[in-house]
C-alpha cells in the first residue's frame, strides 16, 4: 500500500523524541510518506541498516548533533560499512543556519541530496518527495 506514496519508506534519526513525534505528524499530514522508521541513536540506526532483510530506505532525515555519534560520523560509518547505496538519499536537518562548517561538511557526502534548516515543515517534505522522484526517473 505504501508503494503508492511518493516517499514509501523514510527513516528518522534524531535524538529528541518530542521532535520525532512532531516530524511524524508533519509527515502524516503531508500524505507523502508511507512508513516511518525512527531512531534516537545513530549507532542503532546503523545496526538496523546492516540487516539483510530490511526494507529499502528511500529517504533518511538526519539530525547532526546527537549523543555518542554525530550525524556526520553516522554518514561516514554507513558509507564505509555499507557502501554509498545504504539509502536512496539523505536529507540533513541543520539546527541553525549559522553553522557554515556543518553545511560544508554535509555537501561533502554524495548521498546527501538536500539539507534544510529546522524546523521541518510540509514544504520540506514536498521538496524531498520531488527530489526523490527525479532520482528515480
Amino acid at each position: 500500500m505504501n508503494e503508492l506514496t511518493p516517499i514509501p519508506t523514510a527513516m528518522l534519526i534524531d535524538d529528541e523524541s518530542i521532535d520525532q513525534k512532531l516530524y511524524r505528524r508533519v509527515m502524516e499530514r503531508s500524505g507523502l510518506v508511507g512508513n516511518v522508521i525512527g531512531f534516537v541513536y545513530p549507532d542503532e540506526a546503523l545496526e538496523f541498516l546492516k540487516q539483510d532483510d530490511r526494507p529499502t530506505i528511500d529517504v533518511i532525515f538526519l539530525d547532526i548533533n546527537m549523543p555518542r555519534m554525530s550525524g556526520f560520523e553516522f554518514l561516514e560509518e554507513a558509507e564505509k560499512q555499507l557502501g554509498p547505496d545504504f539509502a536512496r538519499m539523505v536529507v540533513v536537518m541543520l539546527t541553525t543556519s549559522l553553522a557554515g562548517q556543518d553545511l560544508e561538511r554535509a555537501r561533502g557526502f554524495d548521498v546527501v541530496k538536500e539539507y534544510f534548516n529546522k524546523p521541518l515543515s510540509q514544504h520540506h517534505i514536498a521538496e524531498t518527495a520531488e527530489m526523490l522522484a527525479q532520482l528515480k526517473s
Binding site: D15, I18, D19, P67, T95, P119
Partner: protein, 388 residues
C-alpha cells in the same frame, strides 16, 4: 594550563628569530665564537639547541647532544651561572665529552626560566681558548638570558590565547545550537497546535505537555551555562579546602537523590588540599551526582569516595557500580555539551564533566575516567600537592 617543552616548540622544533637574535647579540657583545640557547631535556638525556651560532659541524646541523656533552645541564641543575675559564682544569666539567668533541675550553652559561620560575635551559657563550670572564660580561649575558625567558613567556601567552579563542568559538557554536534546538521544537509544536485549533478533536493537551517539557529543559540548560560561566569566569581564590567536610555538605545536599537511588555512599577520610573552594565543590558535587544518576536499574548502587596519597599529588576517586562507559566513549564524556544518552533516558546538558575537567586544569591537575560498560566507572581527580 601547563605546556611541555615540545608543545612550547623549545625542543624538536625549527629555529626562531626571537632566539637567534639573542644568541647573535650575546656572541657579539661578549665577543665569543659560539653562543647557544640550550634547552636541557633531562627526561631524554640530551640538550637541544633552540638557537646556536658558531658551532662546528656536525653539531650545528644536529642541534642536540647527549648530556655527556653538556655543560649547560649544571646551570639548570643548580639554577645558577656556571663560569669556566679553562675546562680541562675545572672539577665539575674536566671529564665532559664536549671538551674533546666540541672544543669547549672557556664557557659562561646562565639559566633561563619558564614563567613558573622553573629553569629549563642555559644561554651560554663558548670559546676554544682559556679565558677570564669579566663581571660586566656575566652581567651582560644575564640580561640577554632574561630576554630568552621573556621570549618563552610570550610563546606561552600566545598558546594560552589561541586555546581560549578556540574554546570561545566552540562554546559559541554549541551555545547557539543548543538554544536554537528547543526553539525549533516549540515552533513545530505551535504549528501543530494551530492546525489542531483549525480542526479540533486531536491531542492538543499532549502537545502542551511536550511544550512545557521543552521550555523546562531549555531553562535547565541556561542554568547549566550560567554555572559554567560563574565557575570558570571568576578569579580562582586558592585556599586550604577540607575535602572531608565539603563532601559531607554535598552528601547532605544530595540526600534526597541518595534516598531515591537507594544508594550506599561510603567516604574514606579525605585530605585538606590547596584549591578554589567553589570550583572544587562543583567537581565533587558533579561527580557524586553523576554516580547517583547513571545507575543500573536493578543493581543496588554503591558509591565510594576516597583519596590516594601519591608522591606529588592527591588522587580523589569517585567510584560507582553504575552503567559504566564503553571504552570508545570515555574521552567524549569530557567534551563541552557532549552527551552519551538521549534526554528521556538520562537527561543532561553535557556541561558538567567539561566543567569539572576545566576546574582540574585550573588547579594544574587533571580529571580522567576508568570505566567498563555495564560494570561501573571510576572518576579520578588529581590535584598536585604543590610546595609546602
Amino acid at each position: 594550563m601547563s605546556y611541555s617543552l615540545v608543545e612550547l616548540g623549545l625542543t624538536d622544533a625549527p629555529p626562531e628569530a626571537a632566539f637567534d637574535n639573542l644568541t647573535a647579540l650575546a656572541s657579539d657583545v661578549i665577543d665569543a665564537e659560539v653562543a647557544l640557547v640550550s634547552v636541557v631535556d633531562f627526561q631524554n638525556d640530551r640538550q637541544f639547541f633552540k638557537s646556536q651560532i658558531g658551532l662546528p659541524e656536525p653539531w650545528a646541523s644536529r642541534r642536540e647532544t647527549p648530556l655527556t656533552h653538556s655543560f649547560c645541564q649544571h646551570v639548570v641543575s643548580n639554577d645558577a651561572p656556571l663560569i669556566v675559564e679553562n675546562a680541562p682544569l675545572h672539577p665539575l666539567v674536566r671529564d665532559n665529552r664536549a671538551i674533546p668533541e666540541l672544543g669547549v675550553i672557556s664557557y659562561l652559561g646562565v639559566p633561563f626560566h619558564l614563567p613558573s620560575g622553573r629553569p629549563v635551559g642555559a644561554l651560554c657563550v663558548i670559546g676554544g681558548e682559556p679565558r677570564t670572564w669579566a663581571a660586566h660580561e656575566i652581567e651582560l649575558l644575564n640580561r640577554c638570558s632574561v630576554c630568552v625567558s621573556d621570549a618563552i613567556r610570550l610563546k606561552i601567552a600566545k598558546l594560552v590565547s589561541d586555546r581560549l579563542r578556540q574554546e570561545h568559538r566552540d562554546f559559541t557554536y554549541a551555545l547557539s545550537h543548543d538554544l536554537k534546538s528547543p526553539i525549533n521544537t516549540l515552533t513545530m509544536i505551535l504549528d501543530e497546535l494551530t492546525s489542531e485549533a483549525l480542526c479540533p478533536g486531536g491531542d492538543a493537551a499532549s502537545l502542551l505537555i511536550d511544550a512545557a517539557s521543552v521550555t523546562g529543559r531549555m531553562g535547565e540548560h541556561i542554568e547549566g551555562l550560567m554555572s559554567y560561566i560563574e565557575t570558570i569566569g571568576r578569579e580562582t581564590a586558592m585556599a586550604d579546602v577540607d575535602l572531608s567536610a565539603m563532601t559531607a555538605e554535598i552528601l547532605q545536599d544530595l540526600s534526597a537523590e541518595i534516598r531515591c537511588a537507594g544508594a550506599e555512599v561510603s567516604v574514606s577520610p579525605l585530605p585538606v588540599v590547596c584549591g578554589d573552594r567553589l570550583q572544587l565543590r562543583v567537581v565533587l558535587q558533579n561527580l557524586i551526582a553523576n554516580a547517583l544518576k547513571f545507575r543500573l536499574g536493578d543493581r543496588p548502587l554503591q558509591v565510594r569516595v576516597r583519596a590516594i596519597d601519591e608522591p606529588y599529588a592527591w588522587k580523589i576517586d569517585v567510584e560507582d557500580n553504575g552503567i559504566g562507559i564503553a571504552a570508545e566513549n570515555c574521552e567524549k564524556v569530557f567534551g563541552l555539551f557532549s552527551r552519551l544518552h538521549v534526554s528521556n533516558e538520562y537527561p543532561g546538558s553535557g556541561i558538567g564533566l567539561a566543567l569539572c575537567r576545566r576546574v582540574a586544569e585550573n588547579h594544574s591537575g587533571n580529571l580522567s575516567v576508568a570505566s567498563e560498560a555495564g560494570r561501573g566507572s571510576c572518576f579520578s581527580l588529581t590535584l598536585p600537592k604543590g610546595p609546602k
